[in-house]
């Protein structure tokens, strides 16, 4: 079930980035793509056990691998900052051209050059 979720999110994200014509759609695709990898790391970290990785809990020898969780905390923060920069660029382009469509923005740049 988790595998289907990961592959589904991966494909939706990739399709959104490659096929989306709107800048916002590309950014949403990038975020979904990022989430699929976060889910992948977290799911693979809990194959051994599901208890929290606190060694003080008695009688719980099998706990989740804490390393992927720490890594994903960092990856989420990094993804958030990339999304913020992308949204700033999208807002600036929208204010100049009045559209979010990539092709129309390219036309707008051509017109402003002539």
């Amino acid at each position: 079930m988790a595998k289907i979720l990961i592959v589904g999110l991966f494909c939706i994200g990739l399709w959104g980035i490659l096929a989306g014509r709107s800048l916002i759609r590309k950014i949403i695709g990038l975020t979904i793509f990022n989430s699929s990898l976060v889910v992948l790391f977290i799911i693979s970290g809990r194959l051994d056990g599901t208890a929290a990785p606190l060694l003080t809990i008695p009688g719980e020898p099998l706990f989740v691998d804490p390393l992927p969780q720490a890594l994903m905390l960092t990856a989420i923060v990094v993804g958030l900052s990339v999304t913020a920069v992308a949204l700033i660029l999208a807002v600036k382009l929208y204010r100049s051209c009045g559209t979010l469509d990539v092709r129309e923005i390219e036309d707008c740049i051509h017109e402003s050059e002539h």
Partner: protein, 209 residues
């Protein structure tokens, strides 16, 4: 002139970082005068660290440093070996040429140089890191500052180019993250040297004699 091992590795990283902080202070007090001192601070610091590292590098010993005194496998390790040394030298030559070009091209404000030195700082971290996940983090810091440098011109073309670069680069770095996952599943470690060791052991076990 001679520095301890820890200080040499730290100086390599702190030289661009302090130049970036100095540029940011210049932005705060809106003074252009800090641009040249920041460059000199970075250049002198980096070259001093390279000279201090040279004797041990040329005798084939890598410099090691554990951030905050936390040893592996818990802490973050930095290493300067021969390859790092040569790459840093190349980095200094190219970045100095780029700095001179930016001075001739236009009068950029100190904020531009903040991102310039931030990119150099993350490049230096990238060269010094021992850990494949930190490699990912340094790559992201490097690309975040370069997106802003690409868009700094402020023209429509520059903004669209920065956006396209951001989408392509972020997508490819996520494939890198997928690779990190595969290597972590195979070897169970993130440090590059231990990973090589474990993957060799795995290969030796899987190939029939």
């Amino acid at each position: 002139m001679s520095l301890s091992t820890d200080l040499t590795v730290l100086l390599l990283l702190l030289a661009p970082l302090s130049a970036a902080v100095l540029s940011l202070l210049g932005k705060l007090f809106s003074s252009r005068g800090v641009i040249t001192p920041a460059f000199i601070l970075w250049l002198v610091g980096s070259i001093w660290a390279l000279v201090a590292a040279a004797p041990s590098i040329f005798s084939g010993v890598a410099l090691e440093y554990s951030v905050g005194g936390w040893l592996e496998p818990y802490g973050i390790g930095l290493r300067v070996n021969g390859l790092t040394w040569i790459a840093t030298l190349t980095d200094i030559v190219i970045a100095s040429a780029a700095w001179l070009c930016t001075r001739r091209y236009r009068r950029f404000d100190p904020l531009f140089y903040f991102f310039f030195f931030l990119a150099l700082f993350s490049l230096q971290g990238l060269l010094c890191t021992k850990d494949i996940f930190n490699l990912f983090v340094w790559f992201e810091v490097l690309s975040l500052s370069s997106f802003i440098l690409v868009a700094y011109d402020g023209s429509l073309n520059a903004k669209l180019a920065a956006f396209n670069y951001l989408i392509i680069s972020s997508m490819s770095i996520l494939f890198f993250l997928l690779g990190v996952w595969i290597l972590y599943q195979l070897s169970g470690v993130l440090a590059l040297d231990q990973m090589t060791f474990r993957l060799d052991a795995l290969r030796a076990r899987s190939t029939p004699d």
